[in-house]
């Protein structure tokens, strides 16, 4: 039987939304407060959903310890307590939560093989959330 397992994690990071493709006025108009040159931060909530057959011997889709280890070492250690603008995945990219969501999916997808990576969902605040399910399947809700 196939089940979907979702695990929630937390990390805090700062960012500034600013694009080199726009003028200063355009940046202010488009990104509003998020364009503040000194940046600002969020407590992000990350949901990782994996799916697969429930293993008859363990009763699990995948070992939670393995999933936690992968997310801890590849995502939380990379992004927690960081300024996203200074990190490699955002070289030449605006660290919107859309881009962060896709970056997390693309980091996890090739290294996590214990189950199928179904979805990455990111809550920037209690009011905004973003989901990415791989190419051609992006959805946004707010």
């Amino acid at each position: 039987m196939k089940a979907h397992l979702t695990r929630r994690y937390r990390f805090s990071a700062s960012h500034r939304l600013h694009s080199g493709n726009f003028s200063c006025e355009q940046n202010r108009a488009i990104y509003g407060k998020c364009n503040n040159p000194h940046g600002h931060g969020h407590n992000y909530i990350l949901e990782v959903t994996v799916s697969g057959q429930v293993d008859g011997r363990t009763g699990m889709v995948c070992n939670l310890i393995e999933l936690d280890d992968a997310v801890q070492s590849e995502i939380l250690e990379r992004f927690d307590r960081q300024n996203l603008n200074t990190l490699l995945p955002f070289a030449g990219k605006v660290p919107t939560t859309e881009n962060l969501c896709v970056a997390i999916y693309e980091i996890l997808q090739p290294i996590f093989h214990a189950a199928h990576l179904e979805r990455v969902r990111l809550e920037e605040t209690m009011m905004n959330s973003f989901e990415y399910r791989g190419k051609e399947n992006a959805t946004v809700s707010s």
Partner: protein, 136 residues
């Protein structure tokens, strides 16, 4: 088609152990959850049914009936129980959140007549939940 979700909470204890594994393997695979004395959770159950709106009642499903079925089939059997010892499914299956979602689906699905079961979601904690859609 309209989807309707009803929540219920139950508290139960469990532990994870596979007699085919050695004690070392059990400890390694299941970690703290291998403690044979068990430990407990406040589970949150979400049952989602789908169907068309009945033009007379305006309902997808009679919520009172759904609530009764959830109580009879799931909560009476699992609330304040030691899952490994008191719920028949878990004498042969490990009471993981995955297997709990599947067992709850299997208990509810044949009892619902007017609406179709869409999803069973079981939260073991606020940070861990499993969805089962009846997929083989």
């Amino acid at each position: 088609m309209v989807y309707l979700t009803r929540k219920a909470e139950f508290s139960a204890s469990h532990y994870y152990h596979n007699p085919d594994f050695s004690p070392e393997q059990n400890r390694q695979i299941f970690g703290k959850c291998n403690n044979p004395q068990g430990h407990g959770h406040n589970y949150m159950l979400e049952v989602t049914v789908k169907g068309d709106i009945d033009p007379d009642s305006g309902f997808v499903v009679d919520l009172k009936q759904l609530k009764e079925i959830m109580h009879r089939e799931v909560l009476d059997a699992m609330d304040h129980r030691f899952l490994n010892k008191e719920v028949p499914e878990f004498t042969t299956r490990i009471p993981t959140t995955e297997n709990l979602a599947i067992a709850i689906w299997q208990r509810l699905e044949p009892k619902l007549d007017n609406a179709k079961l869409h999803r069973v979601r079981v939260y073991e904690t606020a940070d861990l939940f499993v969805d089962f859609y009846g997929e083989r």
